[in-house]
Amino acid sequence: MRGRRTRVLVEPPSHATGDIAFNLIVFFLVCASIQPDSGRPQTLPSAETVEENQQQDNIEVAMKRTAVLLNGEALPESQWSQLPKRLKSLLSGRSKPEDRIVVVKSDKDTPYHHWIHITSVIEDAGGVVTLQLEEEREVQVP
């Protein structure tokens, strides 16, 4: 007696190819649209808060193209690993958010990857990043 042979591979009907393609496209579109981006939220305090706080000793971080100045002391790129520790020690004992303001000044030629790295380190150490931007002034030469 011969056993029944089952066909494992069955070709889909050719008239359904369009529908299958359509469903596959919808599936991948939905997958792509629900893929969330990853990022770093950044809350910048208003200018008034910073001005009110200017009498106090804010920590100051100045960014150059290849170096960072922490309260005026230069840290070359090789010493950036020390930055979190030094910031944490400067911020220790400052509990209020307005006391934890770190004023960030950047040179015009500071690249974004450098800037986002340093501001992330400041935020991870508990600092509140505040940007100090250079004001553009029009000077009329007589």
Binding site: I25, L29, H113, S120, L131, L133
Partner: protein
């Protein structure tokens, strides 16, 4: 069979239409940073591409009009998500270009989220 083809063509049409407000065609390289969070979904996206051109939701704009345009996109009494502005900056962009953009987003009352990639140690 024709129904499938009609639906397929409609879908392609709407996908192309949607790309008009999309910035996925723009060229930029994100920076790498540690400790990231999920940015969530936002209807406002600001991008500076590798040529330092500024885009709002895929449309090229000038820095002087950015703040007002973002304000228009944020509804009255917005939720946290509605205020979220996704900022995508090419990693080599200089401070003289991206800092005024950050200032404009802040002025417009946007909640800034820098879109970056996770740096793995």
């Amino acid at each position: 069979m024709a129904m499938g083809d009609i639906a397929f063509n409609l879908l392609i049409f709407f996908v192309i239409l949607a790309r008009a407000n999309d910035d996925s065609h723009l060229q930029w390289t994100p920076s790498r940073v540690e400790n990231l969070q999920t940015a969530g979904h936002s209807v406002i996206s600001v991008l500076i591409d590798k040529d330092s051109k500024l885009y709002l939701n895929g449309q090229q704009v000038g820095i002087s009009e950015l703040s007002n345009l973002i304000e228009d996109l944020i509804p009255e009494n917005p939720s946290e998500d509605e205020r979220t502005v996704l900022l995508k900056v090419h990693q080599e962009t200089l401070a003289q270009r991206f800092e005024p953009v950050i200032e404009a987003v802040s002025e417009a009352g946007g909640k800034l989220v820098h879109i970056v990639e996770e740096e793995k140690n």
